[in-house]
Amino acid sequence: MEKSTIRLPLFSVSDFVAALNQSLEYAYPQVGIEGEVAEFKVNQGKFVFFTLKDASASVGCFMTVWQLRMPIEDGMKVVVTGIPKVTAWGKFSITVQAIRPSGQGNLKRSFELLKAKLAEEGLFVTDRKRILPRIPHSVGVISSTQAAGYADFMKLVNDRWGGIKINVAHVQVQGEGAADQIMRAIDYFNGSSMPPEVLVIIRGGGSADDLSVFNDELLVRAVAGSRIPTLTGIGHETDESLVDLVADVRAVTPSNAAQLLVPDRREIITELRHKQVSMISRVQAAMTTIQTETNRAMSDMYTLLVRRCDMLLAETTQARRLLVAFDPQTVLQKGYAMIRGHLAVGAAVEIETQYKLITAEVTYVKDK
């Protein structure tokens, strides 16, 4: 009996590797793998190599430095998205398309590393911050129009103010590709012939992983490089992203972003009414001042008049006293007598006392 033989496919080495890659591509066009980073290194400032491992296996990974959107270091747990591939020299590796830290501790570590790097470059300094116009005429909003945070923001903006031209760029605000979409929207508004006066980036609350989009290095740099002043309203009050830190103005929530973007028309109407009351008060105060000054002038005049009258009265009394002192009757009352007539021997003279009139003859005259 003739022994049956199975004809095995015969490949050249190159064909075999190509066929293997084709099979891999068919079976796993793209994979997501979670593991711990080891032997992380960057060659020539361009190529990133590291090993992704767990307790019982490891796999080599390759990517370009431009795909690295968040700092990665050895020991960090990450999720990579990539394409499995066998290289021409027979080494199996993952060509990484995206990598992000996994778990709150690793996200936090990556955040701190990038924060320190960007802080050193001066991206967060206060001097870079621009002031938003008090009442903008045009605003660009970058958000997901389906998100609750967007609805909160728009409702409050419409309640508070009107007359603003608002263009909304609907983008993904979490997950893979979100950072790129937001960056494209920033580029779109910045490249517009009629750019808005303010660019607002809105995203409601979410997990640390959801919000990690806003710690993407390229996105942070795009916000920092925006020629349009930026306002962010991302997450809740306790959330802090690097995009928040680099923005010109940071609101703690989407609702707070609406409050910082536009004034409240009800407050302005109240202010208008206060202004009117203050003007009336000013007129009343002026009238009171005039009245007070008039009353004071009248009072001063009366005081002067009384003083002048008193002086005249005193002068009159003094004159009267003098007149009384010089009255001849006063002298006669003191016992003196007045003599009238020619003082010559033999002449008759009249003598007047207080009570008598006497006629007498002069018998002797002598000079003293």
Partner: protein
């Protein structure tokens, strides 16, 4: 003040200048009534416009996913 094409911000600025006049050394009781009437008309105009203002919102058709 007659109705003009001024923005609300410009009208607010004008109103503030009237209010400032009331607190300035230029204030005279003779001119106060006339200035107050102008300010009141302006304030009413601003209030009416504020209450009527609506935002013009456009969601861009452009896609940003690629």
């Amino acid at each position: 003040m007659s109705k003009t094409n001024k923005t609300i911000a410009e009208k607010m600025q004008e109103l503030n200048s009237y209010v400032a006049w009331f607190d300035s050394d230029d204030f005279t009781i003779e001119q106060a009534l006339d200035t107050y009437k102008k300010a009141q008309t302006l304030a009413t105009e601003i209030e009416t416009e504020l209450q009527a203002l609506k935002n013009d919102i456009t969601v861009l058709k452009k896609k940003f996913d690629a």
